[in-house]
Symmetry: C2
Subunit: 179 residues, 2 copies
Amino acid sequence: MLDLAVLGLLRKRPRHGYELKARLVELGFARVSFGSLYPALRRLEKRGLIEALRQSGRRKAYRLTDLGEQEFARILGSTDHDEDGRFNMRLAFFQYLEPPARLRSLKRRRSHLVSRLQNAQVALQDEIAAGSGDHYTAALLQHNVASTESDISFLDQLIAYARSEMAAEAPRTLTGGKK
Amino acid sequence: MLDLAVLGLLRKRPRHGYELKARLVELGFARVSFGSLYPALRRLEKRGLIEALRQSGRRKAYRLTDLGEQEFARILGSTDHDEDGRFNMRLAFFQYLEPPARLRSLKRRRSHLVSRLQNAQVALQDEIAAGSGDHYTAALLQHNVASTESDISFLDQLIAYARSEMAAEAPRTLTGGKK
DNA sequence: TAAAGCATGTAAGAGGTTACATGATTGG
DNA sequence: CCAATCATGTAACCTCTTACATGCTTTA
């Protein structure tokens, strides 16, 4: 996941490690530590996906190479990054994805969340039925349901937006063709 | 985190690996894989925190030892498991924590979320001010704000509940003492 | 000039992921 | 009896965490 983050952030402009970390915190990915970030930068450099531009003082900015841009597109478009924080990370870079791919990705995520919601609802009902009297477990399960529902409606908004984008972008497929 | 989960689930009653995994999925911790669960069981057994009870067929149930119960209490009460999924995991076992410790833990978590909310709000304002026109990044930041707010109000409910528990449990500290 | 924050790095160890392999049990 | 599901396990690989070490830059 760090790889996607680094490549995606460098796609916009060169940055150095400390800056990357700050941006990740802004985006809500607070857990990234320097002990994983710096080794990740070296790995990516070794693979030729990014290259260092020595700067003032101790700073070491990196830029995305052409190869890195290809790899970024590949990861961003790949189907298997559906889970949890990974999806949010991909969402942060949706600007670099084609509208149809966006829509596909959003729908896939939505159906993933729907099945999670069903699981959470069943678990909550079972807990209530069991009547264990454990308020905190019940509260946790209730919260799982509520936050998953909220995530789904968030997805619905994004799906509506993505549809409107596609309608606005390629209207000539509706009116075009032979007169 | 897996250690806490396993010890906590076994504290109620013995279970085998497959069962533990199923319960974790119910509780919303879906990412646990058998490739981490079974080695974790062996580690815990080696440390004397759990012990195996051979059962029918291939099943191998484990029970919590006295040492395991101590270790569970230590982890559950420890201050440094404040982050993300770790907190929810602890919440699932709040029934085993003393009411005052619950309240302390909930408050700590709340202040953690409040500072996360501030960060998220600033990031959202900055993004709007920058006017990058990237709808998806803005949506992500907006969602970060909303879901953190929702988490805080969830916490507030739990804090109110924990307070009421303590008031109900020890009312004589209010009326007692010297007449 | 001292402190605080900026900035990069390494090493050890723990732990997770994925893929693979195996065998038991149950239902159609 | 076959398939699906239950159930446990191992190995290779990779990554993250934590702790430590270092040095620059700004500002009070």
